[in-house]
């Protein structure tokens, strides 16, 4: 096990700039997710670390050692692909011992110690009783363990995973995600995991690195990235349904501040007012998560903006509503017991402390003191 450090890594494929500037620190034993859409540079980053690609610039250090000039087989990383790619006709033992027979490692793991090592790892992963089975006989969860086991027998410094569970059916994915998180923690192997799926990144990782067009744009714990997105891009990337981003303006209403736009008005929390006061009459983008939008079929005591339900998506435990209020379209996530129909008239509101504010032009979030936002986050 070891730490991993990237500093200013760059990579260009002819006319395409794949990595513009990638830097991050992954501590020993940590689980880090690289999150971004396709083309963000996730796979190129993994390949550069594994030594399958050569970066044009920057430094890659594994356990403090500069590895830029070390070939792939000398780096001791384990690259785990989509669906884990096991050899279906080999036994579990055959799959797991396979990497130890590679010429580069045959010296380190002689036959006896190789067998020993496979048994050890199989015991850790709870698959010792499966060693004689063929992999096609195994359940999805067992296959995941075998694939991780095959990578582990080599005692890699770093696990590099490229969307290993994204193509599984939904039910299995839920199981495997939890299993993978627990296994990584029990084994303590440093892991870098690439995914376009924010839920996977949040569920699994200790730290998320958000990549966009070959650049790191935010690094933080899952909750920090979700609750304190650096800009509208990150705010939109995390959360389903997506955050509402409404074009509004800050106005002063008899001394109190409000966000106003196209027939919709939200009160601003006193803790945020100080910072926003200098932006009165300024155009701003207001963000509100669908789960923070309050929807009422009758006019609430404090008043509110009325709107029309234009779409209803029942999901079982929750229902997603699309409401047109004034000139704005607002998505709300409410309880599954809510039985509104299209064309119903509703009132919408938000908890003032749940609003996010972004510069209209740059999309950057207006910094509000962290303590305040933490308090808002805790009230969710």
């Amino acid at each position: 096990m070891a730490s991993l450090q990237l500093t200013g890594v760059k990579k260009r494929y002819e006319s395409v700039l794949a990595l513009a500037d990638v830097s991050f620190d992954l501590a020993d034993g940590q689980f880090m997710a690289l999150l971004g859409p396709s083309g963000a540079g996730k796979t190129t980053t993994l390949k550069s670390i594994a030594g399958v690609e050569t970066p044009d610039g920057g430094e890659i250090r594994i356990g403090g050692r500069l590895v830029n000039d070390i070939p792939a087989e000398g780096r001791n990383t384990a690259l785990v692909f989509e669906n884990y790619a096991l050899y279906p006709n080999m036994t579990v033992y055959g799959n797991m011992v396979f990497p130890l027979k590679a010429p580069a490692r045959a010296e380190k793991f002689r036959a006896e110690s190789a067998t020993q090592r496979v048994f050890e790892v199989a015991r850790t992963l709870g698959i010792a009783s499966l060693l004689e089975r063929r992999t096609w006989e195994l359940s999805g969860g067992q296959r995941q363990r075998v694939a991780l086991g095959r990578a582990l027998v080599r005692e890699p410094d770093v696990f590099l995973m490229d969307e290993p569970i994204s193509h599984l059916d939904a039910k299995l994915r839920f199981e495997m995600r939890a299993e993978l998180k627990r296994l990584q923690r029990d084994i303590g192997v440093t892991t870098l995991y690439a995914t376009p799926d924010y839920a996977e990144a949040m569920a699994l990782a200790d730290v998320i690195v958000v990549l966009r067009e070959g650049r790191v744009i935010q690094v933080g714990t899952p909750t920090a990235v979700f609750n304190r997105p650096i800009d509208t891009y990150v705010a939109h990337l995390l959360g389903e349904p997506h955050i509402n981003l409404l074009e509004m303006e800050i106005q002063s209403r008899s001394g109190r501040l409000a966000a106003v736009g196209q027939g919709v008005e939200f009160a601003i929390h006193p803790s945020q007012a100080e910072l926003l006061r200098q932006r009165v009459t300024k155009l701003i983008t207001v963000g509100v998560r669908p789960s923070e939008v309050l929807v009422s079929p009758t006019e609430p005591d404090g008043g509110g903006d009325s709107g029309t339900v234009i779409a209803v998506e029942p999901r079982g435990a929750t229902t997603v509503l699309v409401v047109r209020a004034g000139g704005q379209q607002v998505v709300a996530k409410v309880g599954g017991e809510q039985r509104l129909r299209p064309d119903s008239i509703v009132w919408i509101g938000v908890k003032p402390e749940s609003l996010y504010f972004f510069e209209r032009e740059s999309g950057a979030r207006v910094e509000v003191p962290h303590g305040e936002i933490d308090a808002a986050g805790a009230s969710r």
Partner: protein, 369 residues
């Protein structure tokens, strides 16, 4: 527009594969029906028989007031969109969408209006002049969908029409498609393996498995009252938890055992049904959002367990709890915190529980929905 009826329809492929087994159902005029199931359940075969691309071995297929078994696809007046595009490669996107209208002696002006309108709705109006080879898989699917929607047939048949569309755009398309269906007043049959698509768009969902209909009901019905474990586990995310349970007498009443020494009062609605089944092995279904982590309050049931994994997801967390050898997933607050292997109690109310027999079928007694 018209209703669609299938009566005792069966389809084999070769001597050994029974793809669809004696299915009967009716889709009302202007209804949005989703046909949901895993791959190999017979949903696509069913769709292809309605379209006329496959012949049924037995049974009747009705479109409106006609039996259409003997009619060719072109004679059935259905519009189709499939997972794999079926676009003409040498034509532009515009020509592909306009094609079904050009066959029908509609004026060029009218064709243009309709193509532009549907292209705008599906956000492909900027690629109308490109050839299919120049656009992404997701865009091709949208073109296929536009080509179906540009017509006004009796029935729209859509088979996984969004599976290659970028997930980001898919949620927007779900809303649009549902709205288009309401505006057109069209009868839609929509095949999908994605329970979220089925739940969010359909008036009713037909759930299939191994060529057999499992359940036909509204999204609320199939979510709250699944007829068997398969439906309970297939609809809803995260999936429903299933635990082994046994009926036992104790503490002055009939109880259900829970793993790890836990127990639960017998839900009232099961009283008459299972009280006499003492000792019988059943399965208990409980949704993740109905379980609390914390000491049980009066009237609740519960069991001791330990935290296995915590997955924060922003709006909420999924917490996996080990109850001995059994496992449950719980939807907990976004800021739920706890340590790995920490001892906890889970609790839930008897009325939120469903009981399934050894054969997987729901025992009598349903949840209000």
């Amino acid at each position: 527009m018209s209703r669609v009826r299938l009566r005792s329809v069966t389809k084999h492929y070769g001597p050994s594969v029974l793809a669809v087994k004696d299915i009967s159902f009716e889709v009302a005029d202007a209804e949005f029906l989703a046909v949901l199931g895993p791959s190999g359940c017979g949903k696509t075969t069913t769709m292809r028989m309605i379209a006329g691309l496959e012949a049924a071995d037995a049974g009747e297929i009705w479109l409106g007031e006609r039996i259409v078994n003997a009619l060719a696809p072109a004679e059935r007046n259905v519009a189709m969109a499939f997972e794999n595009y079926g676009l003409y490669p040498h034509w532009s996107v515009y020509q592909n969408i306009a094609y079904p209208l050009r066959l029908r002696s509609i004026s060029a002006e009218e064709i243009n209006t309709r193509v532009q309108k549907v292209a705008k709705l599906l956000e492909i109006d900027d690629i109308l002049l490109l050839r299919p080879a120049a656009i992404s898989g997701g865009a091709k699917q949208r073109v296929g969908l536009a080509r179906a929607l540009v017509r006004s047939p009796e029935v729209f048949l859509l088979d996984e029409p969004m599976s290659h569309v970028d997930p980001d755009f898919r949620s927007q398309m779900r809303v649009e498609l549902k709205r288009i269906q309401r505006e057109l007043g069209g009868t839609f049959i929509y095949v999908t393996h994605d329970q979220l698509e089925a739940m969010s768009m359909a008036d009713r969902i037909l759930i299939m498995r191994d060529g057999v209909i499992q359940q036909l009901g509204t999204p609320h019905e199939v979510f709250n009252n699944p007829v068997n474990e398969f439906v309970g586990g297939f609809v809803g995310e995260p999936p429903m938890n299933f635990l082994p349970t046994r009926i036992q007498r104790g503490n002055g009443g009939v109880q259900l055992s829970l793993p790890n020494g836990g127990s639960l009062a017998l839900p009232a609605r099961y009283g008459g049904v299972v009280e006499s089944m003492a000792g019988a092995e059943l399965r208990l279904g409980i949704r993740p959002h109905k379980i609390r982590i914390g000491p049980r309050e009066s009237g609740e049931g519960g069991a001791p367990g330990s935290i296995y994994v915590i997955e924060p997801l922003g709006d909420y967390s999924i917490v996996t709890i080990k109850l001995g050898s059994a496992t449950v997933k719980v939807e907990a607050a976004a800021d739920f915190s706890g340590a790995y292997d920490q001892s906890v109690q889970i609790a839930f109310a008897p009325e939120d529980v469903l009981l399934f027999g050894a054969d997987g079928a729901l025992m009598m007694g349903t949840v209000a929905c």
